[in-house]
Amino acid sequence: MSRQTTKVFLPVLLVAFAGGVILAEYFFAPQILSTLGSELKKLGVLIFSMSMIVGLVGISINSYKKISRRAPGEWYLHVWLLALLYVWVIVGLIYTPTHDFYQWLFANFITALYQAMLALPAMSLFVAIYRSYKVKFELNTILLTASFLLVLFAGAPLGEAIWTGFTPIRSWIINVPTASAERGLIITMALGVIGLSLRTIFGIERTWLGILRVPTATEEEGEGE
């Protein structure tokens, strides 16, 4: 096999095979297809799980490099990262994830950190409102601001206490213009999704391999290292 076959042709063929089976399983009745399809999906989850371990190796290598060259200001953080990471993995493998101690770790490390992170977007949203609505006399910006304000006032008890009319206006804005514009967006987006999927399954587009053009171009030669 030439280098080209192993490096480009086979991966493209595998994409076509996996995608083709998943699509065929959806349309056609024979049992063999759905068995094959569900095994492929399982294989997908297996590769996903394996990539988690690849990630572990990758992060370990990166952190080790930073620690060994004593990267200023951050090498001790990487020591902590590696220590916690491996302690966590060992704890999780010795005890089960349903063990009380693991649950305690999960609740007070991951959940606490994650919920705190979810508090950041609220601040960002208000900063965005402060910074981004530079109302110019442009139709789009005016419309954006107007519908923003109308819906805003209907969103809280205070707005309703001021004027009860905000609520029906909000319902109309959201159910008529917003919903139908969104429907158009969703259909367009989905057609694009199918387009990219089929292009890649048919091997016309190979950007996921880092190759921009179709095989007819001379690009393929440059691809060999």
Partner: protein
């Protein structure tokens, strides 16, 4: 102060600090801005308040994540406390996220269900069931084929409450609590049946489901923190929902102020620039 603030983006700093201070103060100094009870929430309350205590169990689905729980949890707690006070039986499942088993456990711990209810007879916790929309559809047609054991490893066919449940007819109502965006699964697959359908979802997704309420598919709902607060007022189990209403009103007002302030600053700044 000036050395402390060096390198900080000033505008951003003030905008976020004022937001957080407003939120803290709204909990510490309640203003009591009146909350009007809206019809959809009242419908849920009236249904649960008139349902006879010996009727079939309610099906509660916890489809929210730990992240979304500040918004949905108040309505869930209020509904469950109300059901307990009325002696209604219930089955708890979860289809949206794998976090629902843990959320269910915290619901049982915090609602005091264990004090008055007997597990397996008055309530059952199934926990997370994987499979998404297909599962939701299958639950309505053949409950026992989808659910075999509860969250604690008991066979559902051994538990008094669940052993006779076959399909949707064996529940008196279904109430999904959703922040994971799976409420549509329930609407699509359960509203065709003749079973009272109530729901709780995020305020942001309320507009999408209003259409189903208007057409009569959804009999009533609680939207976000606000819906939870309304339900707490109706039942008298006042908790975080009601306490958060001032915060909601004030932050909305603040959003308006910030919008105006941003433009004023821009205008003044531009003028000076010229």
């Amino acid at each position: 102060m000036s050395s402390l603030l060096e390198g900080v983006k000033k505008d951003r700093f003030y905008v976020s600090w004022i937001l957080v201070i407003i939120m803290f103060l709204s909990y510490l100094v309640p203003l009591g801005i009146p909350v009007t009870i809206r019809d959809p929430t009242r419908e849920v309350y009236q249904f649960l308040n008139t349902l006879p205590a010996d009727s079939k169990p309610l099906l509660l689905s916890l489809d929210f994540t730990a992240g979304g729980s500040p918004e949905i949890r108040p309505s869930m707690m209020a509904v469950v406390k109300h059901a307990i006070s009325r002696g209604l039986k219930f089955v708890v499942i979860g289809i949206g996220t794998d976090e629902s088993t843990a959320l269910m456990q915290s619901l049982f711990d915090d609602s005091g269900v264990e004090d008055t209810y007997e597990y397996g007879v008055d309530y059952v916790g199934i926990g997370y069931i994987p499979g998404g929309e297909i599962t939701v559809a299958a639950l309505a047609q053949d409950f026992s084929s989808v659910v075999e054991t509860d969250a604690y490893g008991n066979k559902v066919s051994d538990l008094a409450l669940t052993k006779d449940i076959k399909d949707w007819k064996d529940f008196s109502a279904v109430i999904p609590f959703d922040s994971a965006g799976v409420h549509m699964f329930w609407v699509r697959n359960w509203t065709p049946y003749d079973i009272p359908y109530y729901g709780s979802f995020t305020a942001g997704s309320e507009p999408r489901y209003v259409a189903f309420y208007n057409s009569g598919d959804i009999d009533g709902y609680m939207a976000g923190l606000r819906g939870g607060a309304e339900y707490e007022i109706l039942t008298g189990f006042l908790s975080t929902g009601v306490k958060s209403m001032d915060m909601q009103s004030l932050t909305h007002l603040y959003a308006f102020v910030v919008l105006v302030a941003g433009n004023v600053v821009l205008y003044v700044f531009k003028k000076e620039g010229k």
